[in-house]
Symmetry: C2
Subunit: 282 residues, 2 copies
């Protein structure tokens, strides 16, 4: 725990004098990190040894060490936490909040990811005869993006955001095909059906979804991405970004696995786009 929070937390376990120091620190921690023990003692109207004891009580080695901890608490500015957009927020405020919670959720997602599962997925993708990406609604966007990326690798890849096409495609799949189904909730009935159809037809099914959901149970491999529950309350925001970043990882793993030759291919695709562009004049 952050030492500032800790001070605020334990405020009522402190003695009278210690509380004085605590209050000075909490009221302007930024000043304290540049103050000597004498200055702080004077500011709080108590003696230097009291400040020192206060620091020790907080499990630091002494005043300098305490300042170090304090500096670290302060370093994050506002740490990347999920902050909720409020009715009266200005553009400035909600923009910051959205960016910050997106970052916080990416951090969370990264921690929750199992890299060995990513590795296995990349294995399967590199060996696939055909790759399909299926998603609905917000997850269709992720599937769309995946198609875009894998298309560049010059492998057979399709994407559908339409239930019927997904079903038809699933029914026509065969051994050696990889089907990637994407759904944050993992509870969309039709997608669960698609997954099970694909498996019945011997395709390998990779699920990008939450672990333990009905969809997850139908998949050969589950790439689960945790994000804070309530961020997607009204609109899928954080989960989608986390899924897209996961797609980046898969695509990157894919290119690495395929080696240098394939990276040249990527460059070729990129170069082929040049003529449709205005030249940069710099």
């Amino acid at each position: 725990m952050n030492i500032l929070e800790k001070i605020a937390n334990e405020l009522d376990t402190f003695s009278k004098s210690e509380r004085k120091v605590a209050e000075v620190i909490l009221s302007s921690p930024g000043t304290v990190i540049h103050a000597s023990i004498a200055a702080l003692a004077k500011e709080a109207n108590i003696s230097e040894p009291t400040v020192n004891r206060f620091c020790r009580r907080l499990d630091t080695k002494g005043y300098p060490d305490f300042k170090l901890h304090l500096a670290q608490s302060l370093a994050n500015g506002t740490p990347y936490v999920n902050r909720h957009v409020d009715e009266n927020d200005t553009a400035e405020e909600y923009t910051s909040k959205i960016f910050e919670s997106t970052m916080a959720n990416l951090e969370l997602a990264r921690k929750s990811l199992d890299t060995s599962t990513i590795n296995r997925s990349v294995d399967l993708l590199t060996q696939a005869n055909k790759i399909s990406f299926f998603g609905l609604g917000a997850s269709a966007v992720v599937a769309h993006d995946a198609q875009n990326k894998f298309f560049r690798f010059n492998v057979p890849v399709v994407y559908f955001d339409d239930i019927l096409m997904q079903r038809m495609s699933a029914i026509n799949s065969r051994q050696g095909d990889v089907v990637v189904v994407i759904s944050h909730t993992g509870r969309t009935k039709s997608l669960v059906d698609v997954a099970s159809l694909a498996r019945e037809n011997d395709a390998t099914v990779i699920g990008i979804t939450t672990a333990g959901t009905p969809l997850a149970k139908e998949c050969n491999i589950v790439l689960s991405v945790d994000v804070a529950e309530d961020t997607d309350l009204y609109m899928p925001m954080a989960s989608r970004i986390a899924q897209l970043t996961l797609i980046d990882c898969l695509a990157t793993g894919f290119t690495l696995r395929r080696g240098t030759k394939f990276r040249d291919n990527l460059k070729k695709v990129k170069d082929s786009l040049r003529s449709s562009r205005f030249e940069r004049k710099d």
Copy 2:
């Protein structure tokens, strides 16, 4: 700038002895913040005054102040920096790198965003008769996502990722329509044409692109999102995430502007999806 980066940066402006200190610090900054000036001097095989001078050269008041800065640099764990994927990276490594640089780029994007422009864009969007999102390739994904979000608001919204449809739609636009064109490079010829067609037909054109590009010049408003140049070398990764987060901001601004009634509407859309889902049993 982070003091650790600064040290790494200015490594070759240091004198011989200073470089010794720098190297010790860079090799284990975590140890240094708990070391006294004497201990650090000894470790680097130089004298204490040299350490002190080193600290001052980095614009700190002295050794204790330097340690404070160092502690702050370290507070974020590994700070979110752009780290490049390497040929021999394991899944673990490239996953971390991708997530970290995505976060770093979001941070960068947030700093570069002009919130007053966001505010104006939200203004225009709330007043639009019809909203169109156009993008090609990776930016089509962003347009697709935007359509998804704004569709929930129950406003007329379309998205096209096809040049011809975009042109036709642009030609048929009229005063009161808002056209959002999305392109990271801002140099895709056909999209620039679409933007100019839309303007000729009195639509308001909002560009989500890099400032100063040909596309930007055709737009009424430019929402520019800066990301590190080289992250999108082979595939658009970071820029796309930044653009999507920007879309989240616009959508959020939109709901806030429209007030409580509209948020109820959002909930209604969400509820209507329920029947197509498996119930959660928790």
